[in-house]
């Protein structure tokens, strides 16, 4: 069916995510974190943080709604039954803590067809309420036999 590359360079409206203490704890427990910085706000405060600290991989939560726009964009036409998440990179800035508000903007970095497969690379940039970049994500996906 071919790969539509017209969306390369497209960016999506920014999303805003309010980081909540219980959500951080829920995520931390689901991935097996035991560090009290993620689970106990008093321990986090004693260590100098305003509240519980999000594990670095919590980036998938605060950028989730933004990246979803790219996955579900009809211009990209991704067939989820054939979708494989092949690679992921995150680069982190300052830690995210409960109470932060994280804005994320996603863009289409590249779309290529190679050997009959579609390669989609999306980039997410997340900033906190102080304007600091807290995470840049590169999401690489293959749609087999696209």
């Amino acid at each position: 069916m071919g790969v539509n590359v017209e969306a390369v360079g497209k960016s999506y409206p920014p999303t805003l995510y309010a980081v909540g203490r219980e959500k951080v704890k829920e995520y931390a427990l689901a991935v097996g974190e035991t560090n009290p910085l993620h689970l106990d706000h008093e321990a986090a405060r004693a260590a100098g943080y305003a509240d519980v600290v999000a594990p670095p991989m919590f980036a998938v939560v605060y950028s989730g709604a933004a990246i979803g726009q790219a996955f579900f964009d009809p211009d990209n036409g991704i067939n989820f039954a054939l979708l494989v998440h092949s690679g992921q990179e995150f680069r982190w800035g300052p830690l995210v803590v409960a109470g932060d508000e994280i804005q994320t903007t996603v863009s289409v970095a590249s779309i290529e067809e190679r050997a009959g497969n579609g390669f989609y690379v999306f980039e997410s940039v997340s900033t906190n309420q102080d304007g600091h970049t807290v995470c840049v994500g590169t999401w690489t996906n293959v749609v087999r036999g696209a």
Binding site: K23, E26, Y27, L29, A30, V31, G32, E33, N35, L37, H38, V53, A54, P55, P56, M57, V60, V61, G64, F80, A81, V84, H85, S86, G87, Q88, E89, F90, R91, W92, L95, T138
Partner: protein, 129 residues
Amino acid sequence: MPSFAAGDELPELEVVPDRYVTVRYAGASGDFNPIHIDEEFAKQVGLPGRILHGLWTMAQVARAQTEAAGGPHTLRRLNVSFRGMGVLEEPITVKSTIRSIEDGVAHVDTEAWQAGTAIVRRSDADLQL
């Protein structure tokens, strides 16, 4: 703060994904793709059964780094390649080796193994020491 040198292996992280971990992770992450939570659906699309979320497995790789290096602030970058699929109720081992250290940042090669297969391979992390 632990002391590191090039060539050092970080402590391995071993974790056994229990049969409901994908349900908890779906709720925590918002990724409700049925291949992770619906056994019948997974089999209908040709999988052996429900499979792990790749990003859950990546979180185990991240945890191996932060636990070794002394906390979440140490992890500056993590780049992973997913290969094959992770399954439930089989132990996963994260192995990590320091490739080099420059300007207080350790460059680490890391992989996650399950049942003899590297389900995360050719992956690397930067750790602020």
